[in-house]
Chain length 217, copies 2
């Protein structure tokens, strides 16, 4: 059994992901949560939980990653938390999780990024969105230079629609919607397919099965 640490487990993608991992045959989840009050959802799925805060030290996150085979970072400040959290969670929280992963001797890291985090995207974003794009840009850059077995997933516009299991997935795709449930499935498929190591791709709703789409990357 491969054990997957999910940073941001209590988010919407995180909850789908832990659910799928717990249903899989060869993986189990360790849900990283900010407080014990968030534990019951994951305990009902039979998943392990660990309390660690992305705004605390690298060491406290590294401790959570001690018995782990792979780390998924799907935490996000969300639009509503204010610009402070953009730096502290989307950038600094991500980098601390990357450093904690290295420090725990874990190699595999899957990052849930934003749809387009290129330098051009920062320039083109409007003034209120640009700091978020920049924070995600630097988190992705840090990961690419971290000597980890990374995969960076760039989802389209996230919805709470039920997943279809069908996507359009490639280094560059046209911007479109995708259900959070399908992003969780893409993460799972990426963890199961080592072809995704060292790769990054955009993903939106489409017509290809997720397994096939991930295999063809």
């Amino acid at each position: 059994m491969k054990k997957i640490l999910v940073a941001g487990a209590n988010g919407q993608i995180g909850k789908h992901l832990v659910t799928f991992i717990q249903k899989s045959d060869n993986m189990e989840a360790k849900a990283m949560i900010r407080s014990k009050e968030q534990a019951s959802f994951f305990e009902e799925l039979g998943a392990e939980t660990v309390v660690a805060d992305l705004e605390e030290s690298v060491d406290s996150i590294a401790k959570a990653a001690e018995d782990i085979d792979a780390v998924v970072f799907t935490a996000g400040s969300g639009g509503h938390t204010g610009k402070d959290k953009t730096v502290m969670v989307d950038l600094d929280g991500a980098v601390k999780t990357i450093e904690a992963t290295k420090s725990a001797g874990v190699k595999r890291f899957v990052m849930i990024s934003s749809f387009d985090t290129t330098r051009e995207a920062i320039l083109e974003a409007n003034a209120s969105f640009a700091p978020y794009v920049a924070a995600k840009h630097y988190a992705d850059e840090w990961l690419k230079r971290a000597d980890l077995d990374y995969t960076i997933i760039h989802p389209g516009l996230l919805t709470n629609d039920e997943g279809t299991g069908q996507v359009n997935l490639a280094p560059k795709v046209e911007r479109d919607e995708i259900p959070r449930e399908d992003i969780a499935r893409v993460i799972l498929a990426s963890l199961e397919n080592d072809k995704t190591i060292g790769k990054e791709f955009q993903v939106v709703g489409g017509t290809k099965s997720i397994k096939e789409a991930v295999e063809s990357i």
Copy 2:
């Protein structure tokens, strides 16, 4: 004559710095400003000006650095500009200036940082200051990995007092005040002394002459 590009020339440290550079025997300043309306102060000093915005592309900054021997980054969002600008100027503006410096083939880069930009300082900062410390942390980290001849200056609490020319300067010093005018002198002394290449140091008001303090680093 060595020509120094000053990014953030219209700031308080920047204006002192351009003044000192223009008075020196072996350097001349090129003041990087956001708009032509800021030019007159520098033209009166006989300094060249170039209009370039840190929120624009790397290329536009690289063009400003074309005929340059060294770049000084002393731009800052300032406390009053809001958290958006922390990411866009203190982090992204700094990184774009670093990339522009490389792209223009310039090697020497002097960064005006914050007093303490270590990971510990981010953790210890209060919630409203932490994003600024984090932004400066990542800008400094980016510079250290950029293969440039860098110097990172970490000033204490900046004041508008007249400079004394006397400082306490070392990798670690006790936090204290320092006039902006003396920081400008420390930048000039660093540009004149290659012993500062690959070094970073804190600096506050003290009892040693700036030239001597920089020489002993």
